[in-house]
Protein backbone atom coordinates (compact mmCIF):
# COMPACT_ATOMS: atom_id res chain seq x y z
CA UNK A 1 0.00 0.00 0.00
CA UNK A 2 2.76 2.40 0.91
CA UNK A 3 4.95 2.89 -2.12
CA UNK A 4 8.52 1.64 -2.13
CA UNK A 5 9.58 5.00 -3.51
CA UNK A 6 8.55 6.81 -0.36
CA UNK A 7 10.46 4.38 1.79
CA UNK A 8 13.57 4.91 -0.35
CA UNK A 9 13.18 8.67 0.15
CA UNK A 10 13.23 8.34 3.93
CA UNK A 11 16.06 5.85 3.94
CA UNK A 12 18.18 8.22 1.83
CA UNK A 13 17.30 11.17 4.10
CA UNK A 14 18.21 9.20 7.21
CA UNK A 15 21.47 8.02 5.65
CA UNK A 16 22.39 11.60 4.78
CA UNK A 17 21.79 12.72 8.36
CA UNK A 18 23.85 9.87 9.80
CA UNK A 19 26.74 10.33 7.35
CA UNK A 20 26.84 14.10 7.90
CA UNK A 21 26.82 13.63 11.66
CA UNK A 22 29.59 11.06 11.36
CA UNK A 23 31.81 12.84 8.84
CA UNK A 24 31.76 16.46 10.04
CA UNK A 25 33.79 16.05 13.24
CA UNK A 26 36.13 13.49 11.63
CA UNK A 27 36.92 15.50 8.51
CA UNK A 28 38.14 18.56 10.39
CA UNK A 29 41.84 19.13 10.99
CA UNK A 30 43.02 18.40 14.51
CA UNK A 31 42.29 15.70 17.04
CA UNK A 32 38.99 13.98 16.16
CA UNK A 33 38.45 13.16 19.80
CA UNK A 34 38.29 16.88 20.59
CA UNK A 35 35.87 17.41 17.73
CA UNK A 36 33.68 14.53 18.87
CA UNK A 37 33.82 15.37 22.54
CA UNK A 38 34.38 19.12 22.70
CA UNK A 39 36.98 21.14 24.57
CA UNK A 40 35.42 20.38 27.94
CA UNK A 41 36.33 16.73 27.52
CA UNK A 42 40.05 17.45 27.43
CA UNK A 43 39.95 18.47 31.09
CA UNK A 44 38.49 15.12 32.11
CA UNK A 45 40.62 13.13 29.66
CA UNK A 46 42.96 10.56 31.19
CA UNK A 47 45.18 8.24 29.09
CA UNK A 48 42.92 5.30 30.03
CA UNK A 49 39.77 7.16 29.04
CA UNK A 50 41.37 8.27 25.81
CA UNK A 51 42.41 4.72 24.93
CA UNK A 52 38.93 3.49 25.78
CA UNK A 53 37.26 6.14 23.56
CA UNK A 54 39.65 5.54 20.67
CA UNK A 55 38.78 1.88 20.90
CA UNK A 56 35.04 2.47 21.18
CA UNK A 57 34.95 4.70 18.10
CA UNK A 58 37.58 2.62 16.27
CA UNK A 59 39.44 5.89 15.65
CA UNK A 60 42.68 4.07 14.85
CA UNK A 61 40.99 2.10 12.05
CA UNK A 62 39.65 2.80 8.57
CA UNK A 63 36.78 5.24 8.00
CA UNK A 64 34.42 2.35 7.18
CA UNK A 65 35.23 0.60 10.46
CA UNK A 66 34.73 3.91 12.27
CA UNK A 67 31.32 4.34 10.66
CA UNK A 68 30.38 0.82 11.71
CA UNK A 69 31.43 1.57 15.29
CA UNK A 70 29.46 4.82 15.20
CA UNK A 71 26.25 3.12 14.02
CA UNK A 72 26.74 0.37 16.60
CA UNK A 73 26.98 2.95 19.38
CA UNK A 74 23.78 4.62 18.13
CA UNK A 75 21.96 1.30 18.05
CA UNK A 76 22.84 0.84 21.70
CA UNK A 77 21.18 4.19 22.36
CA UNK A 78 24.48 5.84 23.25
CA UNK A 79 24.62 9.32 21.74
CA UNK A 80 27.76 10.27 23.63
CA UNK A 81 28.54 12.04 26.86
CA UNK A 82 28.35 15.78 27.49
CA UNK A 83 31.18 16.98 29.68
CA UNK A 84 29.55 20.40 29.84
CA UNK A 85 26.31 19.11 31.41
CA UNK A 86 28.10 16.17 32.95
CA UNK A 87 25.42 13.75 31.75
CA UNK A 88 24.76 11.40 28.83
CA UNK A 89 23.63 13.34 25.76
CA UNK A 90 20.44 11.32 25.40
CA UNK A 91 19.41 12.26 28.95
CA UNK A 92 20.15 15.94 28.31
CA UNK A 93 18.21 16.02 25.02
CA UNK A 94 15.25 13.95 26.23
CA UNK A 95 15.00 16.18 29.32
CA UNK A 96 14.43 19.20 27.09
CA UNK A 97 12.34 17.56 24.35
CA UNK A 98 8.94 17.57 26.16
CA UNK A 99 8.97 21.38 26.45
CA UNK A 100 9.58 21.78 22.72
CA UNK A 101 6.92 19.18 21.90
CA UNK A 102 4.49 21.11 24.10
CA UNK A 103 5.19 24.40 22.29
CA UNK A 104 5.24 22.92 18.79
CA UNK A 105 2.18 20.72 19.33
CA UNK A 106 0.02 23.51 20.73
CA UNK A 107 1.15 26.00 18.08
CA UNK A 108 0.55 23.49 15.26
CA UNK A 109 -2.99 22.70 16.42
CA UNK A 110 -3.89 26.37 16.94
CA UNK A 111 -2.35 27.61 13.71
CA UNK A 112 -3.97 24.87 11.59
CA UNK A 113 -7.43 25.45 13.07
CA UNK A 114 -7.20 29.22 12.72
CA UNK A 115 -5.56 28.97 9.28
CA UNK A 116 -8.15 26.53 7.91
CA UNK A 117 -11.19 28.40 9.26
CA UNK A 118 -9.93 31.79 8.05
CA UNK A 119 -8.99 30.22 4.69
CA UNK A 120 -12.49 28.76 4.25
CA UNK A 121 -14.18 32.03 5.21
CA UNK A 122 -11.88 34.11 3.02
CA UNK A 123 -12.13 31.82 -0.02
CA UNK A 124 -15.93 31.67 0.32
CA UNK A 125 -16.07 35.47 0.12
CA UNK A 126 -13.48 35.65 -2.68
CA UNK A 127 -13.03 39.18 -3.97
CA UNK A 128 -15.03 40.83 -1.18
CA UNK A 129 -13.61 43.47 1.11
CA UNK A 130 -13.25 40.94 3.96
CA UNK A 131 -11.33 38.56 1.71
CA UNK A 132 -9.01 41.27 0.46
CA UNK A 133 -8.29 42.57 3.95
CA UNK A 134 -7.62 39.08 5.28
CA UNK A 135 -5.41 38.19 2.32
CA UNK A 136 -3.28 41.33 2.58
CA UNK A 137 -3.16 41.12 6.38
CA UNK A 138 -2.15 37.47 6.59
CA UNK A 139 0.32 37.75 3.75
CA UNK A 140 2.00 40.63 5.57
CA UNK A 141 2.00 38.61 8.79
CA UNK A 142 3.77 35.88 6.82
CA UNK A 143 6.70 38.28 6.41
CA UNK A 144 7.30 38.70 10.12
CA UNK A 145 9.96 36.24 11.27
CA UNK A 146 8.78 34.23 14.28
CA UNK A 147 11.55 35.49 16.53
CA UNK A 148 10.64 39.11 15.75
CA UNK A 149 6.96 38.42 16.52
CA UNK A 150 8.16 36.82 19.76
CA UNK A 151 10.26 39.82 20.72
CA UNK A 152 7.42 42.25 20.04
CA UNK A 153 5.01 40.15 22.15
CA UNK A 154 7.66 39.91 24.88
CA UNK A 155 8.11 43.66 25.02
CA UNK A 156 4.38 44.47 24.92
CA UNK A 157 2.97 41.80 27.24
CA UNK A 158 6.02 40.94 29.31
CA UNK A 159 8.01 44.13 29.76
CA UNK A 160 5.47 46.93 29.34
CA UNK A 161 2.18 45.46 30.63
CA UNK A 162 3.70 42.72 32.77
CA UNK A 163 0.74 40.33 32.14
CA UNK A 164 2.92 37.35 31.23
CA UNK A 165 6.29 36.14 32.54
CA UNK A 166 9.40 37.18 30.61
CA UNK A 167 10.84 33.73 30.07
CA UNK A 168 11.44 30.19 31.23
CA UNK A 169 8.87 27.42 31.42
CA UNK A 170 8.07 27.51 35.17
CA UNK A 171 8.59 30.02 37.96
CA UNK A 172 11.76 28.87 39.74
CA UNK A 173 11.57 28.07 43.47
CA UNK A 174 7.86 28.95 43.47
CA UNK A 175 6.90 26.00 45.68
CA UNK A 176 3.75 25.55 43.60
CA UNK A 177 2.06 22.14 43.43
CA UNK A 178 -0.73 20.45 41.50
CA UNK A 179 -2.96 22.69 39.43
CA UNK A 180 -1.01 25.79 40.39
CA UNK A 181 2.03 24.32 38.59
CA UNK A 182 -0.03 23.59 35.48
CA UNK A 183 -1.39 27.13 35.50
CA UNK A 184 2.12 28.48 35.91
CA UNK A 185 3.34 26.40 32.94
CA UNK A 186 0.40 27.61 30.81
CA UNK A 187 1.18 31.24 31.68
CA UNK A 188 4.77 30.73 30.56
CA UNK A 189 3.59 29.08 27.34
CA UNK A 190 1.16 31.76 26.19
CA UNK A 191 3.63 34.18 24.58
CA UNK A 192 5.92 31.65 22.82
CA UNK A 193 2.89 29.72 21.51
CA UNK A 194 1.24 32.94 20.37
CA UNK A 195 4.40 33.97 18.51
CA UNK A 196 4.67 30.59 16.74
CA UNK A 197 0.95 30.46 15.94
CA UNK A 198 0.87 33.97 14.47
CA UNK A 199 4.01 33.42 12.42
CA UNK A 200 2.81 30.10 10.96
CA UNK A 201 -0.87 30.89 10.50
CA UNK A 202 -0.64 32.17 6.94
CA UNK A 203 0.65 28.92 5.38
CA UNK A 204 -2.56 27.04 6.20
CA UNK A 205 -4.66 30.07 5.38
CA UNK A 206 -3.21 30.65 1.90
CA UNK A 207 -3.38 26.99 0.95
CA UNK A 208 -6.96 26.55 2.20
CA UNK A 209 -8.07 29.75 0.47
CA UNK A 210 -6.52 28.68 -2.84
CA UNK A 211 -8.08 25.21 -2.69
CA UNK A 212 -11.40 26.71 -1.60
CA UNK A 213 -11.43 28.90 -4.73
CA UNK A 214 -10.88 25.92 -7.02
CA UNK A 215 -13.32 23.69 -5.08
CA UNK A 216 -16.08 26.30 -5.33
CA UNK A 217 -15.97 25.97 -9.12
CA UNK A 218 -16.64 22.20 -8.95
CA UNK A 219 -19.98 20.97 -10.35
CA UNK A 220 -20.88 19.22 -7.09
CA UNK A 221 -21.02 22.61 -5.39
CA UNK A 222 -23.71 23.67 -7.86
CA UNK A 223 -25.61 20.45 -7.13
CA UNK A 224 -25.34 21.04 -3.40
CA UNK A 225 -26.57 24.58 -3.82
CA UNK A 226 -29.46 23.41 -6.01
CA UNK A 227 -30.50 20.98 -3.28
CA UNK A 228 -31.10 24.04 -1.14
CA UNK A 229 -28.49 23.32 1.50
CA UNK A 230 -27.77 25.97 4.10
CA UNK A 231 -24.76 28.28 3.77
CA UNK A 232 -23.00 26.62 6.69
CA UNK A 233 -23.40 23.14 5.23
CA UNK A 234 -22.21 24.31 1.80
CA UNK A 235 -19.24 26.15 3.21
CA UNK A 236 -17.92 23.64 5.72
CA UNK A 237 -19.39 20.22 4.91
CA UNK A 238 -19.05 20.35 1.12
CA UNK A 239 -16.41 22.91 0.17
CA UNK A 240 -14.36 23.06 3.36
CA UNK A 241 -13.90 19.33 3.76
CA UNK A 242 -12.66 18.97 0.23
CA UNK A 243 -10.33 21.92 0.67
CA UNK A 244 -8.78 20.16 3.66
CA UNK A 245 -6.78 17.45 1.91
CA UNK A 246 -3.95 19.58 0.51
CA UNK A 247 -3.60 21.08 3.97
CA UNK A 248 -3.16 17.64 5.49
CA UNK A 249 -0.51 16.74 2.94
CA UNK A 250 1.47 19.82 3.91
CA UNK A 251 1.34 19.14 7.66
CA UNK A 252 4.62 17.26 7.58
CA UNK A 253 6.49 20.12 5.96
CA UNK A 254 4.86 22.60 8.35
CA UNK A 255 5.87 20.55 11.35
CA UNK A 256 9.47 20.91 10.20
CA UNK A 257 9.00 24.66 9.88
CA UNK A 258 7.33 25.07 13.27
CA UNK A 259 10.08 22.98 14.93
CA UNK A 260 12.63 25.30 13.30
CA UNK A 261 10.60 28.30 14.42
CA UNK A 262 10.55 26.93 17.95
CA UNK A 263 14.36 26.96 17.99
CA UNK A 264 14.30 30.73 17.48
CA UNK A 265 11.31 31.49 19.70
CA UNK A 266 12.72 29.46 22.60
CA UNK A 267 15.81 31.63 22.48
CA UNK A 268 13.69 34.80 22.76
CA UNK A 269 11.81 33.49 25.80
CA UNK A 270 14.70 31.50 27.31
CA UNK A 271 12.29 28.56 27.11
CA UNK A 272 14.14 25.40 28.19
CA UNK A 273 13.40 23.28 25.09
CA UNK A 274 15.80 21.77 22.55
CA UNK A 275 16.13 25.10 20.71
CA UNK A 276 17.55 26.82 23.74
CA UNK A 277 19.70 23.76 24.35
CA UNK A 278 21.07 24.05 20.80
CA UNK A 279 22.00 27.66 21.50
CA UNK A 280 23.64 26.85 24.84
CA UNK A 281 25.55 23.95 23.31
CA UNK A 282 26.72 26.07 20.41
CA UNK A 283 27.97 28.82 22.72
CA UNK A 284 29.77 26.23 24.88
CA UNK A 285 31.04 24.31 21.81
CA UNK A 286 29.54 21.21 23.37
CA UNK A 287 29.84 19.02 20.24
CA UNK A 288 28.29 15.82 21.62
CA UNK A 289 25.10 17.67 22.53
CA UNK A 290 24.91 19.47 19.17
CA UNK A 291 25.34 16.14 17.38
CA UNK A 292 22.83 14.30 19.53
CA UNK A 293 20.35 17.11 19.21
CA UNK A 294 20.74 17.20 15.45
CA UNK A 295 20.14 13.47 15.26
CA UNK A 296 17.09 13.44 17.56
CA UNK A 297 15.39 16.49 16.00
CA UNK A 298 16.12 15.49 12.39
CA UNK A 299 14.91 11.93 12.94
CA UNK A 300 11.80 13.20 14.76
CA UNK A 301 10.92 15.53 11.86
CA UNK A 302 11.51 12.68 9.37
CA UNK A 303 9.29 10.38 11.41
CA UNK A 304 6.48 12.94 11.52
CA UNK A 305 6.75 13.52 7.77
CA UNK A 306 6.65 9.79 7.19
CA UNK A 307 3.57 9.32 9.40
CA UNK A 308 1.74 12.20 7.72
CA UNK A 309 2.39 10.71 4.29
CA UNK A 310 1.31 7.32 5.52
CA UNK A 311 -1.90 8.79 6.92
CA UNK A 312 -2.93 10.69 3.82
CA UNK A 313 -2.29 7.85 1.46
CA UNK A 314 -4.76 6.02 3.67
CA UNK A 315 -7.14 8.98 3.85
CA UNK A 316 -7.29 9.61 0.14
CA UNK A 317 -7.24 6.56 -2.10
CA UNK A 318 -6.58 8.80 -5.11
CA UNK A 319 -3.07 9.59 -3.91
CA UNK A 320 -1.99 5.95 -3.84
CA UNK A 321 0.59 5.22 -6.46
CA UNK A 322 0.30 8.70 -7.94
CA UNK A 323 3.44 10.78 -8.09
CA UNK A 324 3.65 13.26 -5.26
CA UNK A 325 3.88 16.57 -7.10
CA UNK A 326 4.25 19.55 -4.81
Amino acid sequence: MFSRRNIVTYVVALAFILVLNFLLPRMLPGDPLTAIYGDEALVAMTPQLKAELVKRFALDQTLWRQFGAYILELCRGRLGYSYYYNAPVLTVVLGRLPWTLLLVGTALVLSSILGIVSGIESGWRRGSRTDRTMLAGLMSLNGFPDFFVGMVLLIIFGVTWRVFPLGGALTPYSGLTGWATVLDAVKHMVLPVAALTLAHLSGGYLLTRNTMITVLKEPYMLTARAKGLSQGALKYRHAGRNALLPVVTQTGIWTGRVVTGALFVELVFAYPGVGYLAYEAMMARDYPVIQGLFLVVAVAVLAINFLVELSYTTLDPRVRGVSRAH
Binding site: S140, N210, I253, R285
Partner: protein
Protein backbone atom coordinates in the same frame (compact mmCIF):
# COMPACT_ATOMS: atom_id res chain seq x y z
CA UNK B 1 3.25 29.02 -21.78
CA UNK B 2 2.42 32.24 -23.53
CA UNK B 3 2.09 34.58 -20.62
CA UNK B 4 3.13 38.17 -20.39
CA UNK B 5 4.90 38.03 -17.02
CA UNK B 6 5.28 41.79 -16.75
CA UNK B 7 1.60 42.42 -17.35
CA UNK B 8 0.62 39.65 -14.98
CA UNK B 9 2.70 41.09 -12.12
CA UNK B 10 1.83 44.71 -12.69
CA UNK B 11 -1.87 43.85 -12.85
CA UNK B 12 -1.81 42.81 -9.20
CA UNK B 13 -1.97 45.50 -6.53
CA UNK B 14 0.08 43.74 -3.84
CA UNK B 15 2.73 42.83 -6.43
CA UNK B 16 3.14 46.51 -7.28
CA UNK B 17 3.50 47.36 -3.59
CA UNK B 18 5.99 44.52 -3.22
CA UNK B 19 8.04 45.81 -6.13
CA UNK B 20 8.11 49.32 -4.68
CA UNK B 21 9.32 48.00 -1.29
CA UNK B 22 12.07 45.93 -2.88
CA UNK B 23 13.19 48.82 -5.06
CA UNK B 24 13.58 51.09 -2.02
CA UNK B 25 15.52 48.40 -0.15
CA UNK B 26 17.83 47.72 -3.09
CA UNK B 27 18.51 51.44 -3.54
CA UNK B 28 19.19 51.73 0.19
CA UNK B 29 21.71 48.89 0.00
CA UNK B 30 23.42 50.24 -3.12
CA UNK B 31 23.68 53.82 -1.88
CA UNK B 32 24.63 52.80 1.68
CA UNK B 33 27.86 54.84 1.99
CA UNK B 34 26.10 57.97 0.67
CA UNK B 35 23.15 57.92 3.07
CA UNK B 36 24.93 56.95 6.27
CA UNK B 37 26.81 59.53 8.37
CA UNK B 38 29.01 56.99 10.23
CA UNK B 39 31.08 53.88 9.63
CA UNK B 40 28.81 51.01 10.73
CA UNK B 41 31.70 49.23 12.47
CA UNK B 42 33.12 52.21 14.35
CA UNK B 43 32.69 51.89 18.11
CA UNK B 44 32.50 55.05 20.23
CA UNK B 45 32.22 56.02 23.89
CA UNK B 46 28.65 57.29 23.42
CA UNK B 47 26.69 54.05 23.93
CA UNK B 48 22.91 53.61 24.11
CA UNK B 49 22.09 57.16 23.01
CA UNK B 50 18.48 58.06 22.18
CA UNK B 51 17.69 59.23 18.63
CA UNK B 52 18.90 62.74 17.87
CA UNK B 53 19.93 64.93 14.93
CA UNK B 54 23.39 63.35 14.78
CA UNK B 55 22.25 59.74 15.47
CA UNK B 56 18.85 59.27 13.76
CA UNK B 57 18.18 55.95 15.47
CA UNK B 58 20.49 56.43 18.44
CA UNK B 59 23.48 54.21 19.19
CA UNK B 60 23.82 50.62 20.39
CA UNK B 61 25.60 49.14 23.43
CA UNK B 62 29.07 49.70 21.95
CA UNK B 63 28.33 53.17 20.61
CA UNK B 64 27.77 52.24 16.95
CA UNK B 65 25.30 54.33 14.94
CA UNK B 66 22.15 52.19 14.52
CA UNK B 67 20.92 53.91 11.33
CA UNK B 68 24.24 53.26 9.59
CA UNK B 69 24.16 49.63 10.68
CA UNK B 70 20.54 49.28 9.55
CA UNK B 71 21.42 50.51 6.06
CA UNK B 72 24.57 48.39 5.73
CA UNK B 73 22.67 45.40 7.12
CA UNK B 74 20.36 45.61 4.07
CA UNK B 75 23.43 44.83 1.95
CA UNK B 76 24.09 41.59 3.81
CA UNK B 77 20.45 40.51 3.69
CA UNK B 78 20.07 41.23 -0.02
CA UNK B 79 23.47 39.81 -0.94
CA UNK B 80 22.72 36.50 0.78
CA UNK B 81 19.18 36.56 -0.63
CA UNK B 82 20.16 37.14 -4.25
CA UNK B 83 23.21 34.89 -4.03
CA UNK B 84 21.20 31.95 -2.72
CA UNK B 85 18.31 32.75 -5.08
CA UNK B 86 20.52 32.66 -8.18
CA UNK B 87 22.51 29.61 -7.12
CA UNK B 88 19.49 27.57 -5.95
CA UNK B 89 17.45 28.37 -9.07
CA UNK B 90 20.43 27.45 -11.21
CA UNK B 91 20.89 24.09 -9.44
CA UNK B 92 17.13 23.45 -9.54
CA UNK B 93 17.04 24.15 -13.27
CA UNK B 94 20.09 22.03 -14.08
CA UNK B 95 18.90 19.00 -12.14
CA UNK B 96 15.16 19.41 -12.82
CA UNK B 97 15.52 19.84 -16.58
CA UNK B 98 18.28 17.26 -17.03
CA UNK B 99 16.34 14.66 -15.03
CA UNK B 100 13.25 15.24 -17.18
CA UNK B 101 15.12 15.10 -20.47
CA UNK B 102 17.63 12.32 -19.81
CA UNK B 103 15.26 10.09 -17.84
CA UNK B 104 16.05 6.52 -16.90
CA UNK B 105 18.24 5.64 -13.95
CA UNK B 106 19.71 9.17 -13.79
CA UNK B 107 16.25 10.67 -13.37
CA UNK B 108 15.33 8.15 -10.68
CA UNK B 109 18.49 8.82 -8.67
CA UNK B 110 18.22 12.61 -8.91
CA UNK B 111 14.54 12.68 -7.98
CA UNK B 112 15.00 10.31 -5.02
CA UNK B 113 17.78 12.56 -3.71
CA UNK B 114 15.58 15.62 -4.23
CA UNK B 115 12.72 13.99 -2.30
CA UNK B 116 15.06 13.04 0.52
CA UNK B 117 16.39 16.59 0.88
CA UNK B 118 12.90 18.09 0.89
CA UNK B 119 12.03 16.25 4.11
CA UNK B 120 15.26 17.13 5.93
CA UNK B 121 14.88 20.26 8.10
CA UNK B 122 17.41 22.70 6.63
CA UNK B 123 17.99 24.98 9.64
CA UNK B 124 19.11 22.08 11.80
CA UNK B 125 21.64 20.95 9.22
CA UNK B 126 23.03 24.49 8.95
CA UNK B 127 23.32 24.72 12.75
CA UNK B 128 25.28 21.47 12.85
CA UNK B 129 27.62 22.51 10.04
CA UNK B 130 28.07 25.99 11.52
CA UNK B 131 29.04 24.49 14.87
CA UNK B 132 32.13 23.01 13.20
CA UNK B 133 32.85 25.49 10.41
CA UNK B 134 32.27 29.16 11.27
CA UNK B 135 30.74 30.11 7.91
CA UNK B 136 31.88 33.23 6.07
CA UNK B 137 29.19 34.97 4.06
CA UNK B 138 30.24 33.12 0.91
CA UNK B 139 30.19 29.72 2.63
CA UNK B 140 26.76 30.56 4.05
CA UNK B 141 25.41 31.40 0.58
CA UNK B 142 26.73 28.14 -0.89
CA UNK B 143 25.50 26.12 2.09
CA UNK B 144 21.98 27.58 1.97
CA UNK B 145 21.81 27.12 -1.80
CA UNK B 146 22.99 23.48 -1.58
CA UNK B 147 20.31 22.75 1.00
CA UNK B 148 17.41 24.58 -0.63
CA UNK B 149 17.33 23.99 -4.40
CA UNK B 150 15.43 20.70 -4.15
CA UNK B 151 11.88 22.05 -3.74
CA UNK B 152 12.23 24.11 -6.91
CA UNK B 153 13.86 21.26 -8.82
CA UNK B 154 10.76 19.13 -8.23
CA UNK B 155 8.43 21.75 -9.71
CA UNK B 156 10.80 22.46 -12.60
CA UNK B 157 11.14 18.73 -13.30
CA UNK B 158 7.36 18.26 -13.43
CA UNK B 159 6.94 21.20 -15.83
CA UNK B 160 9.88 20.15 -18.01
CA UNK B 161 8.31 16.69 -18.34
CA UNK B 162 5.13 18.19 -19.77
CA UNK B 163 7.09 20.53 -22.07
CA UNK B 164 9.09 17.57 -23.37
CA UNK B 165 5.95 16.04 -24.87
CA UNK B 166 5.00 19.17 -26.82
CA UNK B 167 5.13 19.22 -30.62
CA UNK B 168 7.77 21.91 -30.84
CA UNK B 169 10.28 19.67 -29.06
CA UNK B 170 9.51 16.84 -31.48
CA UNK B 171 9.91 19.32 -34.35
CA UNK B 172 13.27 20.49 -33.02
CA UNK B 173 14.39 16.89 -32.65
CA UNK B 174 13.39 16.10 -36.22
CA UNK B 175 15.73 18.89 -37.34
CA UNK B 176 18.51 17.09 -35.50
CA UNK B 177 18.66 19.16 -32.31
CA UNK B 178 20.57 17.54 -29.44
CA UNK B 179 19.32 17.16 -25.88
CA UNK B 180 21.42 20.04 -24.58
CA UNK B 181 20.27 22.35 -27.37
CA UNK B 182 16.62 21.51 -26.73
CA UNK B 183 17.04 22.07 -23.01
CA UNK B 184 18.81 25.40 -23.38
CA UNK B 185 16.96 26.90 -26.37
CA UNK B 186 13.46 25.52 -25.87
CA UNK B 187 12.66 24.05 -22.45
CA UNK B 188 14.40 26.59 -20.21
CA UNK B 189 12.88 29.66 -21.94
CA UNK B 190 9.44 28.03 -21.75
CA UNK B 191 9.90 27.55 -18.01
CA UNK B 192 10.68 31.26 -17.50
CA UNK B 193 7.77 32.22 -15.22
CA UNK B 194 8.29 29.17 -13.02
CA UNK B 195 11.98 29.91 -12.65
CA UNK B 196 11.02 33.46 -11.66
CA UNK B 197 8.72 32.25 -8.87
CA UNK B 198 11.37 29.79 -7.70
CA UNK B 199 13.95 32.59 -7.68
CA UNK B 200 11.72 34.98 -5.70
CA UNK B 201 10.84 32.39 -3.05
CA UNK B 202 14.49 31.33 -2.93
CA UNK B 203 15.50 34.89 -2.06
CA UNK B 204 12.76 35.12 0.57
CA UNK B 205 13.85 31.90 2.25
CA UNK B 206 17.50 32.98 2.27
CA UNK B 207 16.84 36.48 3.68
CA UNK B 208 14.83 34.89 6.45
CA UNK B 209 17.43 32.20 7.12
CA UNK B 210 20.36 34.62 7.20
CA UNK B 211 18.63 36.76 9.83
CA UNK B 212 17.52 33.73 11.83
CA UNK B 213 20.92 32.07 11.82
CA UNK B 214 22.67 35.32 12.74
CA UNK B 215 20.13 35.68 15.54
CA UNK B 216 21.21 32.24 16.79
CA UNK B 217 24.85 33.39 16.70
CA UNK B 218 25.80 31.85 13.32
CA UNK B 219 27.23 34.72 11.28
CA UNK B 220 30.30 36.20 9.72
CA UNK B 221 31.64 38.69 12.32
CA UNK B 222 33.03 40.95 9.60
CA UNK B 223 29.62 41.82 8.12
CA UNK B 224 26.76 43.80 9.66
CA UNK B 225 23.76 41.52 10.08
CA UNK B 226 20.22 42.37 11.12
CA UNK B 227 19.91 39.09 12.98
CA UNK B 228 22.89 39.92 15.20
CA UNK B 229 21.56 43.42 15.81
CA UNK B 230 18.17 42.07 16.91
CA UNK B 231 19.87 39.54 19.17
CA UNK B 232 21.88 42.34 20.82
CA UNK B 233 18.80 44.55 21.15
CA UNK B 234 16.94 41.74 22.90
CA UNK B 235 19.44 41.86 25.80
CA UNK B 236 18.31 45.45 26.48
CA UNK B 237 14.55 44.87 26.25
CA UNK B 238 14.07 46.32 29.76
CA UNK B 239 15.22 49.75 28.46
CA UNK B 240 13.18 51.89 26.05
CA UNK B 241 15.96 51.43 23.42
CA UNK B 242 13.93 48.71 21.65
CA UNK B 243 11.76 51.43 20.10
CA UNK B 244 14.59 52.74 17.89
CA UNK B 245 16.90 49.70 17.96
CA UNK B 246 14.81 46.53 17.68
CA UNK B 247 11.67 47.81 15.91
CA UNK B 248 13.23 49.53 12.85
CA UNK B 249 15.42 46.50 12.12
CA UNK B 250 12.61 44.00 12.61
CA UNK B 251 10.34 46.08 10.40
CA UNK B 252 12.98 46.48 7.67
CA UNK B 253 13.52 42.69 7.64
CA UNK B 254 9.79 42.01 7.58
CA UNK B 255 9.30 44.55 4.78
CA UNK B 256 11.77 42.75 2.52
CA UNK B 257 10.07 39.42 3.16
CA UNK B 258 6.58 40.90 2.71
CA UNK B 259 7.72 42.59 -0.51
CA UNK B 260 9.00 39.27 -1.87
CA UNK B 261 5.82 37.47 -0.75
CA UNK B 262 3.64 40.03 -2.55
CA UNK B 263 5.64 39.80 -5.77
CA UNK B 264 5.71 35.99 -5.56
CA UNK B 265 1.97 35.81 -4.93
CA UNK B 266 1.40 38.03 -7.94
CA UNK B 267 3.36 35.63 -10.16
CA UNK B 268 1.85 32.44 -8.72
CA UNK B 269 -1.32 32.42 -10.88
CA UNK B 270 1.05 31.98 -13.83
CA UNK B 271 1.94 28.53 -12.51
CA UNK B 272 -1.58 27.65 -11.45
CA UNK B 273 -4.00 29.39 -13.83
CA UNK B 274 -6.94 28.12 -11.77
CA UNK B 275 -6.08 30.86 -9.28
CA UNK B 276 -6.69 33.52 -11.89
CA UNK B 277 -9.48 35.87 -11.01
CA UNK B 278 -8.82 35.07 -7.39
CA UNK B 279 -6.54 38.06 -7.37
CA UNK B 280 -8.85 41.01 -7.34
CA UNK B 281 -6.98 42.93 -4.69
Amino acid sequence: MHIDVKKEIMGSGPARIGFAILLVMILMALLAPLITPYNPHQQTQSALLAPSGSHWLGTNHVGQDIWSRLVFGARTSLLVGFGVGVLATLLGTIFGVSAALIGGLYERIVMRLVDAFIVIPMVIVVILVAAYVKPSILVLIVLLALLSWQGGARIIWAQALSQKEREYVAAARSFGAGTFYIAWRHIVPALGPILLVDFIYGIRRAVFMEAGLAFLGISDPTVVSWGVMMRNALSFSYLPVWQWWLLPIGIALSLIIVGLTFVGHGVEPIIDPRLRGAEVV
